[in-house]
């Protein structure tokens, strides 16, 4: 495959998010402008201007009209996806690290970092249908975990909130009361900071990536460890294929030591693993820095075939019956399922899989 390189950001990428249909891709970076791209050809649609700090995370509503971004400028902003207009700003007293819309887009969970004596917190905000009616009141605030909470997402039916962060513990909270329901034990849990968390397409299980060079697959309801994927690099980003039993891990050596070593030593490939067998399938190279963000196109296998066969083309005579059935030119685009990766190098790489990807055997 020939990946599409998107160089819209001047600083390292932090997060990538497809909309539900998988035709738009929102990228967040440490520069202040989240950017939206067409996911098929990588064309830039627009940028959302207004943040004054690194943007750590974002989410797109189900109807692809509302974008929410969390930024280190201690704010979370709501945007109109289409126009780039700022709709609302939630202000916090510490940097916002992650956001996630609930099912139904009525609620959003926002995590904030520990900062200047303020402890980290998980905030639940209700999202109004009409942005003009939007209020900044928190429905629920959960505090407790020490250190940064790198990611918090909604559990099934919005009944729970799953959080993970610097203390390497995964916690499941009741989203109504804020009570701690379950937490991972040190025996089975990660040994180091959890950097990323992503839910499966149906939400039944989720995957966490950690700096302890592993990724773990968990059951959403019971928080039992299902699988562990061991790798030889710190994991910064994880993604799960919506189609196949594939898991992608991205990462690489610490950004501070990248310039001191050869790029091959950095292990900046995105690694594909078989979800069930926990075996490595392959690696996709390309980035010059560690991968910070990974996303799979949720669209599934989209089959687009454009066949243009020139049956005849000859001066003077029409000879086309001779050429019937003979294809002169056929552009077959198949299975445009794609995944994208964003790296410390500031590039987003959009990979459309080759057809043989779908028939990989271990």
């Amino acid at each position: 495959m020939r990946p599409i390189l998107m160089k819209g950001h001047e600083r390292p990428l932090t997060f990538l998010k497809y909309n539900r249909e998988g035709d738009l891709l929102v990228s967040c970076a440490k520069d202040h402008n989240p950017t939206v791209w067409f996911a098929d050809n990588g064309e830039r649609l627009g940028t959302y201007r207004g943040h004054n700090g690194a943007v750590w995370c974002c989410d797109v509503s189900r109807d692809s009209m509302l974008l929410i971004t969390a930024s280190a400028d201690q704010s979370v902003k709501l945007w109109n996806v289409q126009t780039g207009a700022q709709l609302y700003t939630f202000s916090f007293n510490s940097p916002a690290r992650s956001v996630d819309f609930s099912v139904g887009d009525k609620l959003a969970v926002i995590t904030t970092d520990p900062f200047m004596g303020v402890t980290s917190a998980i905030n639940v905000k209700s999202i109004a249908d009409d942005p003009s009616q939007q209020s900044g009141e928190s429905v629920l605030t959960i505090t407790g975990p020490t250190g940064r909470i790198n990611r918090a997402v909604w559990g099934p039916l919005n009944k729970t909130i799953i959080s993970a962060g610097e203390d390497s513990v995964i916690r499941i909270w009741d989203s109504e009361t804020g009570k701690l329901l379950k937490e991972s034990t040190p025996e089975v849990g990660h040994k180091k900071q959890i950097t990323s968390l992503t839910k499966s397409a149906d939400g039944s299980h989720f995957l966490t990536g950690s700096l302890d060079k592993s990724a773990k697959l968990w059951d959403t309801r019971t928080l039992t460890l299902i699988k562990t994927y061991a790798t030889e690099r710190p994991v910064n980003a994880v993604a799960m294929s919506p189609l196949l039993d594939h898991v992608v891990l991205g990462g690489g050596q610490d950004a501070s030591s990248v310039t001191t070593t050869d790029h091959r030593a950095g292990k900046f490939e995105a690694k594909f693993y078989n979800k069930v067998l926990q075996e490595e399938i392959g690696g996709v190279k390309g980035h010059f820095g560690p991968i910070n963000a990974l996303a799979f196109n949720p669209d599934g296998k989209r089959l687009a075939l454009h066949i243009d066969d020139h049956l005849s083309g000859n001066a003077g005579t029409i000879r086309w019956p001779i050429f019937v059935g003979m294809m002169w030119c056929a552009n077959v685009e198949m299975g445009s399922t794609s995944f994208s990766s964003g790296g410390e190098d500031g590039y987003v790489r959009l990979h459309h899989f080759d057809p043989d990807y779908f028939s990989i055997k271990i």
Partner: protein
């Protein structure tokens, strides 16, 4: 041009046409026609052109546009496709090239190509099995003399027991070295001749290199050791391949040596490859004659 226009195209004489060579005469042609695509997806484009001889030709291009599978594209996604650009994307410079297709073909790199590694180890196993069958024990430790257990470099007894021959040689070597160093003080002494150096190594290596050694001459300059190995390994296990390379120029000197594990293999290789055309040169393959010193 203006003259042409005032004159009616139909009355244009060919003689005049030849005079203004290279002028665009397309206005003389009937307009381009596009028919279809019809319900069968057949699209016809009829164009008229002057060919090189100045004759008018009709070009009919028939194209069939087929939609084999419906792209599962939601209506709203199609709508979004037509959204106006906003933010920085509005005044994007033409040459900014934010989006590029990688010039490099990136493949999903398998940790190992399916089946390859297993095969390789199988071949290696075969080789060893073959050796065992042939009765020749390849793996002889030169440090402790044990056969078939480990290689010299991996000898676990290397540090414990010095090989007897070096023990005997050593004092003599030290003596001579001291003598020479006394005689020519300050002159360069190569490491191999210095006090304490193992003198036997050289001769030992040479002896080893002469076992079943085949000399290959008239090699082309581009031939490298892997090439020779590829050429010779079909005859049997090869223990060493060497191509003489000019140290100054780095160019092959046109000859090399191949050592076989089994003498019969070497013999077969000589019989087969002597006079063999390789890289447009005719190889000469023969037994390597022991160095005369």
């Amino acid at each position: 041009m203006s003259v042409d226009k005032s004159a009616k195209p139909s009355k244009l004489r060919w003689g005049e046409l030849d005079e203004d060579d290279g002028e665009d005469l397309d206005f003389l042609l009937p307009p381009k026609q596009v028919i279809g695509p019809d319900e069968n997806g057949i699209k016809k484009v009829i164009e008229y052109k002057f060919n090189d001889d100045g004759n008018k030709v009709k070009i009919t291009t028939t194209t069939r546009v087929r939609k084999l599978a419906k792209a599962r594209l939601s209506k709203r996604a199609v709508e979004r496709r037509n959204w106006a650009k906003f933010g920085d994307a509005v005044h994007e410079e033409v040459g900014s090239r934010l989006t590029m297709v990688s010039t490099e073909e990136i493949l999903l790199e398998r940790p190992r190509a399916p089946g390859t590694k297993a095969e390789e180890s199988k071949i290696a196993g075969d080789n060893l099995a073959q050796l065992g069958k042939g009765g020749a024990v390849l793996m002889v430790c030169r440090a402790c003399g044990k056969k078939g257990d480990h290689w010299t470099s991996r000898c676990p007894y290397k540090d414990l027991a010095q090989p007897t021959e070096t023990f005997i040689d050593k004092p003599a070597a030290t003596e001579t070295a001291m003598a020479t160093s006394g005689a020519t003080k300050g002159a360069y002494v190569p490491p191999s001749l210095r006090a304490g150096a193992e003198r036997t190594v050289g001769s030992d290596m040479r002896r080893r290199n002469e076992e079943n050694s085949v000399r290959v001459t008239n090699l082309s300059e581009d031939t490298r050791e892997p090439d020779l190995h590829e050429l010779f390994h079909t005859f049997g296990p090869v223990s060493r391949v060497y191509v003489a390379i000019d140290q100054k120029t780095g160019v092959s000197r046109g000859f090399g040596f191949v050592n076989f594990v089994n003498k019969e293999d070497a013999e077969r290789a000589i019989n087969k490859l002597n006079g063999y055309g390789y890289d447009n040169l005719i190889l000469r393959v023969e037994w390597a004659t022991p160095r005369s010193n």
